[in-house]
Assembly symmetry: C2
Homo-oligomer: 175 residues x 2
Amino acid sequence: MAASDHTTATKACYDVGRDGLVSWSQPHAEAWMGLLETHKRLTRELDAELEAEHGLTLSALEALTRLGATARHGLRLSALASRCGLSLSRISRIIDSLEARGLVERRAVDTDARAVEAHLTEAGWELARRAQATHFASVQRVFFERLSEHEVALLAEIFSRFDGCEATACEGEAE
Amino acid sequence: MAASDHTTATKACYDVGRDGLVSWSQPHAEAWMGLLETHKRLTRELDAELEAEHGLTLSALEALTRLGATARHGLRLSALASRCGLSLSRISRIIDSLEARGLVERRAVDTDARAVEAHLTEAGWELARRAQATHFASVQRVFFERLSEHEVALLAEIFSRFDGCEATACEGEAE
DNA sequence: TAAGATTGAACCCTCAATCTTG
DNA sequence: CAAGATTGAGGGTTCAATCTTA
């Protein structure tokens, strides 16, 4: 695997092997691949659990949670999409399915006839709380239990650097 | 958001707010959400770039790379699936599309008539090297450039704890 | 013209069913 | 019967096209 030994150079993160194929130095490979694989493993497990227990997908739970986090338990679809990091198209269909289950309802906005707000119903609010409780316990079990407090803080700091925050997402709209 | 103050208790990672909705303590929220959002952001950017430059998806590049990493530039579909962390079904279709582009070919295995091996063609091998080179540079740009060497090692160590390594994936098959 | 939302097409992925061979 | 592979169905997601309204 012909690892590069000049650990002083911050830039040399990968090498070309004798056969012409590129490969990272070991810690780099493990950090990047580890991010991908850890994400895949954890989200699969959490998603399956959430689906089995509440018939919700991770994205649907996030939508419910974002709605529940606002004062009026409602948000415009476009605002919800941007907060969830999903396309407006996807959010529209997620709301379709939540509405069909009676967890959410669409309401017209009187100040702007183009807009639609999704609002939690009583059932939606109750499911949001129940699902969040079990989901949080699951995340605790599969993720936080393997980390020290110090490491949690470290990860929080590191991931905050990738926060993008691309203009539109940061406009602090009223709730 | 009514944060819990007993930082000595390692277990208290979330609280129930005055309104009944659960929320994590801030560093926990940022660590977990940060993992999800960072993964989403980075893979989207890398995937788009890879698609634009080489017409490959992240998974297709991984398949090509795994094949190129073996001595014979070939692997059984089931072995490839387990190394990529994808379903055999998905791998079969990825190989379909790579084969249609002349990057890979399916070969029968003489010792087991049920098995099929995917082998890199000359064109596939060349694309693998080119795509890897630009992809590695992209990962460097969007990921490693924001991390110190120490942090890379830290992340590698942390993510290794989530390695699952569930029996079948760990049987060191010959290449 | 542009913004908010919806819809159709297409891709990535998994699961279950099927077919073939050990 | 079990293992390797393929195929059909279905869900999650995005993009482009469309419709309505600011």
